[in-house]
């Protein structure tokens, strides 16, 4: 009986906290998006993007959303809807979201801070750090840190890369022009990365992805 009661209070407390967290997260947009709706949708996102938005290795690498810049997430969701970033799953996911829900979700994910998922090869982390902080000026590779920040936490529409999944970054940089900025009449921020992605060699891509995946 005592155990049952404790369990009851436990569950109550947990869901209370979850609602409270969602309320705080969604504060401004809660009225428009509906608080319970945001919590439910957060849960739905995390089915694929991992617990606490940590990222997850599904059939494809599914990116970390935790700590991500809200403006970046907004731009990506719109890019999926508009076809600037072709991805049938994310296009379906995004096109049912109201602008208020997008705001609430992006702000909620930006506040999460789980540790990186890890699992990248450690061998080239030091080389990756050098590329990230200094670039490779002789080969016209810009220093990633100039825009993404020395801590790789990003800024506005420039994404956080700290703790991002190794295979996701490798894939994104390798396929950049096939996956981003696909509507020439609607140029977006992704154009900035195009020459950088092209100028990086495969070993450089792997090194910098390994380094980023270890950052908090």
């Amino acid at each position: 009986m005592k155990w049952r009661l404790m369990k009851f209070y436990g569950v109550g407390l947990a869901s209370g906290l979850a609602i409270l967290a969602a309320v705080c997260a969604g504060a401004t947009y809660a009225a428009a998006a509906g608080t319970s709706g945001v919590a439910g949708k957060m849960q739905y996102c995390q089915d694929c993007h991992g617990i606490s938005g940590q990222g997850y290795r599904g059939y494809v690498p599914i990116p970390r959303l935790a700590g991500q810049q809200p403006d970046y997430l907004m731009n990506q969701l719109r890019a999926f809807v508009e076809g600037r970033r072709p991805n049938s799953i994310m296009s379906n996911v995004a096109h049912v979201l109201s602008p208020a829900m997008m705001h609430a979700l992006t702000r909620s994910f930006s506040r999460l801070d789980p540790p990186p998922l890890g699992g990248a090869p450690r061998r080239y982390v030091a080389r990756g750090r050098a590329i990230f902080q200094d670039g490779d000026p002789g080969a016209n590779v810009a220093a990633c840190a100039a825009c993404h920040g020395p801590d790789a936490h990003g800024h506005g529409e420039i994404p956080r890369l700290a703790g991002q999944l190794y295979p996701y970054i490798v894939k994104a940089l390798t396929n950049w022009s096939q996956e981003r900025g696909r509507i020439p009449s609607k140029p977006d921020t992704s154009a900035i990365m195009e020459p950088v992605a092209h100028s990086l060699t495969r070993p450089q891509v792997e090194a910098v992805a390994a380094y980023l995946s270890t950052l908090r």
Binding site: Q133, P137, N140, A143, A146, C147, H155, I158
Partner: protein, 227 residues
């Protein structure tokens, strides 16, 4: 030079010490030759690739970009000013940020550039004239214009226009300020002596110190909208 080397190598080949010395001299000679080539012409394709690289951070048409740091507009900038700044970065006289723990990105960028490449890039950037990025607060533009045109009455702050030109266009080693990014100008004037010790930087030091934070913001907003 080659004859001297031959003499040294032939005449003293048997004496162990001289051979490494000869190699050192040879290395220096060939390094010097490489550098001499660098001062020659650069290919148009190399300049184009490097320009693209600069614009990754400095924005399309070099109009400036708000990365993690405000990255300044280079479009329309004075050729001599760009040359002097790159030299400042290379000589570690101009820091990239106020934080000594952060990598000096522009040192890395600058030190691989030959003088001919620097000249070509600076000339190309000078010729660009995209519209300003904008985005600065507009509440104090009039106050900014007064400081820019007339200086600050009762202080040692002279009119900016007297050196930077009536439209902020600059002249030679004096930079163009027209269309420069608001947060960049604010950061430079606020941190002047922490970041800048390149040639001519001492001219601005007392002025930057005399300006108050609100005066800096007003004048930075004003110049950011000049075309």
């Amino acid at each position: 030079m080659t004859r001297v080397l031959e003499k040294i190598v032939r005449g003293r080949m048997t004496k162990g010490i001289v051979v490494p010395v000869a190699f050192v001299i040879l290395t220096i000679v060939s390094a010097g030759a490489g550098r001499a080539e660098d001062t020659g012409a650069v290919s148009a394709s190399a300049v184009q690739a490097k320009t693209k690289y600069c614009e990754v951070c400095h924005g399309a048409d070099a109009r400036g970009f708000l990365g993690y740091y405000p990255i300044p507009r280079l479009a329309g900038q004075q050729v001599e000013y760009i040359e002097n700044q790159l030299k400042g970065f290379i000589e570690h006289k101009r820091a990239n940020t106020a934080s000594p723990t952060t990598t000096n990105i522009m040192f890395d960028v600058g030190h691989v550039l030959s003088p001919a490449m620097i000249k070509a890039l600076a000339t190309n950037f000078h010729a660009l004239n995209p519209s300003p990025v904008g985005g600065a607060p507009k509440d104090n533009l009039a106050a900014g214009k007064t400081i820019f045109d007339e200086g600050v009455a009762g202080t040692d702050v002279p009119p900016c226009a007297s050196c930077h030109g009536a439209q902020g266009e600059g002249n030679g080693e004096i930079p163009r300020l027209a269309g420069q990014l608001y947060p960049y100008v604010v950061k430079q004037l606020t941190n002047w002596s922490k970041e800048r010790a390149e040639k001519n930087a001492d001219v601005m030091a007392p002025i930057a110190h005399d300006l108050t934070a609100s005066q800096i913001e007003a004048v930075a907003a004003y110049v950011s909208y000049l075309k």
